[in-house]
């Protein structure tokens, strides 16, 4: 059985994995780059090892360094989290070769699913419906134009090695084909070290719905129902929920079976996600498989009542799945929002900086998976996501109310975050009604870009607070000898315990 796990990741997911390790009595080992010495995952782990410079390509993505750290620590398994090396077949193989358990699928499954084109073919063989598109990667720009015209505009250009919206471009006009392919290739190279891209037919009014699956090494496979991930900005998910508000029991069952079949087609082992693109009539097409834990896995955990990381570890321990499809149910409704360090008023520009003050939302039905703390400086080298807020309630309506309450109570100062933007999403009629697709953000710009105009009173209250702070600071800076009386006047402001009242 696994006794010590190295988590080849950082941020909230590293901590989330470590929590389950601790509950299982397994030691956790962190790795960190130069930018991450003060990061919470280093502090949270039982052990921590340095793996290189800040840039991920020289640390978190360097297989040799990770393996070295694993050997140094005596870890018998590696959990890759999401991103970084989580879908790197070479890494999966290397772990195997080194006698370290890779908590994730085989290189075969990663390679087959990781290459979107091979995956499409595999799915077609397994009778899983796929989106019309290219059957091989685009090798040059001239060919790109030809291929796009064949599939027919609008199309999506996608990185073969991709995921998470990176290296992805939509093309509507012919004159944008070249620039989009170039940009997608450049981003794909920067993000994945592989610039292969391919083309897919663009589905109108598309919903992004994915199924969580678990497969063991004994031929058992189950799904843990769907997640609705259609609220996206620049193809990046920002709000996820389960159950999907458009799902029916019939389609759910059918899609679930297709999801398990998709995973089985590559002899999958571990936790994975089958992403589907779904139209308004609930026609669905296999989009891709993410051969790892997803950012949004907690909503499934909450509604199904399963710790997915523990399941991953059990499967890696070669144990058969104890969960049975027929015993699994969706209980209530869960929503996750992703909190990014970004400026919603300035085109969602990433906004790294130092956390001055943080108040985390607590209480009934709220889970908060984060990693920042007061005084922590968010590095500019990695993803700007700083935390995830997950709420549960018996009904979708109550879950939305709860999310609004949690967002209201969640305060981070020092950096700009997406919290105000997420709060607005919860109030958009299309979201409240559950009638939305991946165009939700652009379709609802009028709600989402609306500014709350402050009234005089709130402006004055803000001014009063600043003014009182200014006067207190003035007093503190006054030289003792010259004006002791004045000094005590403001410095201890608010420290008196017994007060007169108006």
């Amino acid at each position: 059985m696994i006794k010590k796990i190295l988590i080849a990741n950082r941020g909230e997911i590293a901590i989330r994995v470590m929590r389950s390790c601790r509950e299982m009595g397994i030691k956790s080992v962190a790795v960190f780059s130069e930018a991450d010495r003060t990061s919470m995952h280093v502090r949270f782990a039982d052990e921590a090892y340095f793996i290189g410079p800040a840039v991920a390509a020289e640390s978190y993505l360097v297989i040799d360094n990770i393996i070295d750290a694993a050997k140094k620590s005596g870890a018998d398994a590696i959990h890759p989290g999401y991103g970084f090396l989580s879908e790197n077949a070479e890494f999966s193989d290397r772990c195997k070769k080194e006698g370290i358990i890779f908590i994730g699928p085989s290189s075969y499954a990663i390679n087959t699913m990781g290459d979107k084109i091979t995956a499409r073919k595999k799915m077609q063989t397994a009778s899983v419906p796929v989106v019309p598109g290219t059957t091989k990667p685009i090798s040059n720009l001239k060919e790109a134009i030809k291929t796009v015209k064949e599939v027919g505009l609008p199309v999506m250009i996608k990185a073969s090695a991709g995921g998470g919206g990176k290296g992805m471009r939509m093309v509507e006009k012919e004159e944008d084909i070249v620039s989009s392919v170039t940009a997608a290739k450049s981003e794909a190279m920067a993000s994945f070290g592989n610039d292969e891209v391919y083309v897919e037919k663009y589905i109108n009014s598309p919903h992004h719905i994915e199924f969580q699956i678990l497969c063991d090494n004994h031929g058992n496979g189950i799904h843990l129902f769907e997640r609705e991930c259609s609220v996206q900005r620049r193809h990046q998910k920002i709000v996820e929920e389960t159950p999907s508000p458009i799902m029916t029991d019939e389609v759910r069952e059918e899609m679930g079976k297709h999801a398990v079949a998709a995973a089985m087609a590559v002899n999958y082992s571990g936790a994975g996600t089958i992403e589907f693109i779904v139209d308004d009539n609930l026609n669905y097409y296999f989009l891709e498989m993410n051969t790892r834990l997803q950012v949004e896995h907690p909503i499934t955990e909450r509604v199904v009542g399963v710790d997915l990381v523990k399941e991953q570890i059990r499967i890696a321990n070669n144990l058969p799945l104890e969960l049975k499809q027929e015993n699994l149910t969706q209980n209530g409704h869960a929503i996750e929002v992703r909190i990014y360090a970004e400026d919603p008023d300035n085109n969602f520009m990433p906004n790294p900086g130092t956390i001055k003050h943080i108040t985390e939302p607590l209480g009934l039905g709220v889970r908060h998976d984060g990693y920042v703390y007061e005084g922590y400086e968010i590095p500019m080298y990695y993803d700007p996501m700083i935390s995830k807020l997950i709420v549960w309630a018996p009904s979708r309506e109550e879950a939305i109310d709860r999310m609004k309450r949690a967002l209201y109570a969640y305060k981070i100062t020092g950096i700009k975050t997406s919290i105000p933007f997420l709060h607005k999403i919860m109030d958009v009629p299309d979201f409240k009604n559950g009638r939305y697709n991946t165009h939700f953000i652009q379709d609802n710009a009028k709600y989402l870009n609306k500014k709350v105009e402050p009234n005089n009173k709130i402006k004055d209250v803000a001014a009063i607070a600043a003014f009182v702070n200014y006067l207190s600071t003035l007093d503190e800076n006054v030289n003792d000898s010259s004006a002791t009386a004045l000094k005590s006047n403001w410095k201890n402001f608010g420290r008196k315990k017994s007060l007169n009242r108006f």
């Binding site: 940009a183 990433p350 001014a463 009063i464 600043a466 009182v468 006067l471 402001f493 608010g494």
Partner: protein, 171 residues
Amino acid sequence: MSYEIKVNDEVSDIKVLNRDGNLLEIAVDNRKYKVDIIEVEKGVYSILLNGVSFNIELISSGLKKYEVNTLYNSFDIEIIDAETKYMNSRKSGEDEDADYISTPMPGKIVKILVKEGDLVKGGETVVIVSAMKMESEYKVVNDRIIKQVLVKEGDNIEGNQPIIMLGEVEE
């Protein structure tokens, strides 16, 4: 003790009329308030105004400038004392800041698409900067001439650092 205070771009008079412990009578322009104000955490004030509870978070930069966060709003606030007034009076009449491209956050120069002396059309991208795994394109708004390129590809830059100086195009 009367001061001026600038909230975003609006300047008001502010004056403490009376104080009793943490109970304060204060006037902002001619609006009078009785508030119960207390610093509950470093930089966080709890204010009660006619029973209504406000939480105000201050981030100060220097002695007189604040970013002030209320529940739904964020304000840039500056206390204008005699010194500030003097500085402002000296400043007026000077030219505007030089025209340059900069980024709001630290990042890395991915690609510079222009060189000194280039004429660029409004809307044209001049530089691509990467920060936190996102590439952003920086464009000029109007037709401009590139006066100077202050960085090279691969450079790490600070937020608000001038990276490309722009000049007006003579018609």
